[in-house]
């Protein structure tokens, strides 16, 4: 059984069928790629997995436990973190405060104690150091550049130590140096046991990073395999070049 198992998921927005019996599995410890032309349903699938959209039919399982149509906060607490295609950070909070939002606590007493507890503070500083934002920790997040916001979002998802992280176009709109740095960070975390599911249009990035790639087209998975297999699959070529 895979760590994350999506089976026959369908979702329609009015008359538009965004997902049609789409299936996907993410093995524990892997870096899995999810590619497909624009509008093929990748982000909708992410929204379905993370609870942002209710799916119409199908099942989603995480660690052999059903997470079909549960709330986003519940999904996150189970250990699935995600970033957004259009980076979503908290603009009026400082970088450090942003880091602490995702640091989990249970119970009233814990919630009412200071947000900057020493243990979490240490962890937040380590992660900011990891993505290179330490100097900006007291800056309102709105003041960061686009690339820095992406790094911040990545870092604050990490603070909760999720088992799997869903990255929605992490390399979109950032410079090549930063893309390489990001790939390196993903590999480092993967070695520490974090599983990744990555949506990306930058083929060089995806092919270089992922062991397994699933290709989506018109709301369904049409192919999967290693980067080489996917690249030579006629159905994939048709999806990208055909019509």
């Amino acid at each position: 059984m895979s760590l994350l198992e999506v089976q026959n998921v369908s979702k329609a927005f009015g008359g538009i069928q965004a997902l049609t019996t789409c299936s996907l599995s993410v093995e524990e410890g892997s870096i899995t790629g999810l590619i497909g032309p624009n509008g093929s349903g990748k982000t909708t699938l992410f929204n379905g997995i993370t609870g942002y959209e209710k799916i119409d039919t199908g099942t989603i399982q995480f660690s052999s436990q059903s997470i079909t149509n549960i709330r986003p906060d519940q999904v996150f607490r189970l250990g699935i973190g995600r970033t957004f295609q259009l980076t979503r950070i908290f603009p009026r909070l400082t970088v450090m405060e942003n880091m602490h939002v995702a640091a989990q606590r249970e119970g009233m007493k814990e919630l009412l104690s200071r947000w900057s507890s020493t243990h979490e503070q240490k962890r937040a500083l380590e992660l900011l150091d990891f993505v290179g934002l330490t100097k900006l920790k007291d800056t309102p997040a709105a003041n960061l550049s686009y690339g820095q916001k992406k790094l911040l979002e990545f870092a604050f998802v990490l603070i909760a130590e999720p088992k799997v992280i869903l990255l929605d176009e992490p390399a979109g709109g950032i410079n090549p140096t930063l893309i390489n740095q990001l790939a390196e960070q993903i590999r480092t975390l993967n070695k520490q046991g974090v599983t990744f599911l990555v949506v990306e249009h930058n083929m060089e990035f995806v092919m270089g990073l992922c062991e397994k790639i699933t290709v989506m087209h018109r709301g369904s998975n049409i192919a999967e395999g290693t980067p080489q297999e996917v690249r030579s699959n006629p159905a994939v070529l048709e999806a990208y070049l055909g019509d």
Binding site: P72, F90, G132, K135, T139, A160
Partner: protein, 350 residues
Amino acid sequence: MKVFRIVFPLVLLAAFIAFPFVFTDPATTTVAVFTLFFAAAGVGWNIFSGYTGYIALGHAVYFGIGAYAMALLCQDWNIQPGYAPFFLLPLVGLIAAAFSVFFGWIALRTRRHTFVVITIATFFIMQLMAYNLRAITNGSAGISLPIPFDWTADFFNIPFYFVALAILVLAFIASWWIHNSKYGLGLLAIRDDEDRALGLGVNTGPFKLIAFVISAFFVGMVGGLHAYFNSSIFPPFAFDALFDVAIALMAFLGGLGTLYGPILGALILVPAQQYLTVQAGSSGYNLIMYGVIFLVIILLLPEGILPTISKRWNRWRASRNRAEATPDIVTSPGAENSVAVESSGKGVEQ
């Protein structure tokens, strides 16, 4: 700066305590009592609306429920005038809070503009109920509260002043505590991007409702105290639309979501309003002037006084630092919604 954060509220508290001993004129202390009423209610309101960004324009509901709870408890339990009614205030606050669980639960199913409209609607519903549930509220004839006749005119304001101050201090401590807590950080995250906060494990529904109930508790206590101060209540004064607007305006003026903003707003607006009322008489010109002054302030200081000052201060400090040395990145820490990032030298990305 850290010392300042502890010393400043204590100095402010000392000034508040000393005030009625320095200015003993009842006309002055009456203005001071009203200022504290609004400051306490404003700080309470700010715990919900300031931190979560949900602008509630119906907190007069809890002010009114507090007022009627106070009147009815005094009536039913035959409370004697004097200090006794003050001890009912925590219970009065709890009654207002209990109502807010229900109204908040409904209103918080919506967001943004819809939420504002629903809170205004709850206000009108409750005002109508106060007029029409005559068996409980005595309708437009109102209810009288015990009057402490043995308090002299010179002394009368003093107990109210200090009880109002006590509520303000309690509300301030709650606001300060929440602001520094994980819970408060969750509220601020909701203000910035609620769905994102939910996706990071913040249990947004209960977070918002609890803040709503806490704010109603403080506003309810102020309502109860205000009723006792006035010795009588009537539907249009217990459920007053101007109150809804006034506490929001004070928080906006001082700085929405800041610790001191609502206090500063009350310190400016309540005396100004009272002064205008005296100057312009009962003609209603005071309301027009009040509105004009407010528009001017909003045009010049759209974020409120405290955030504007803090931003100017940070900008000034940043420019001074830059003159001394050229750091990698000059930013303005602490400023909310800052527009400009001035990067000199290389950015962090490289």
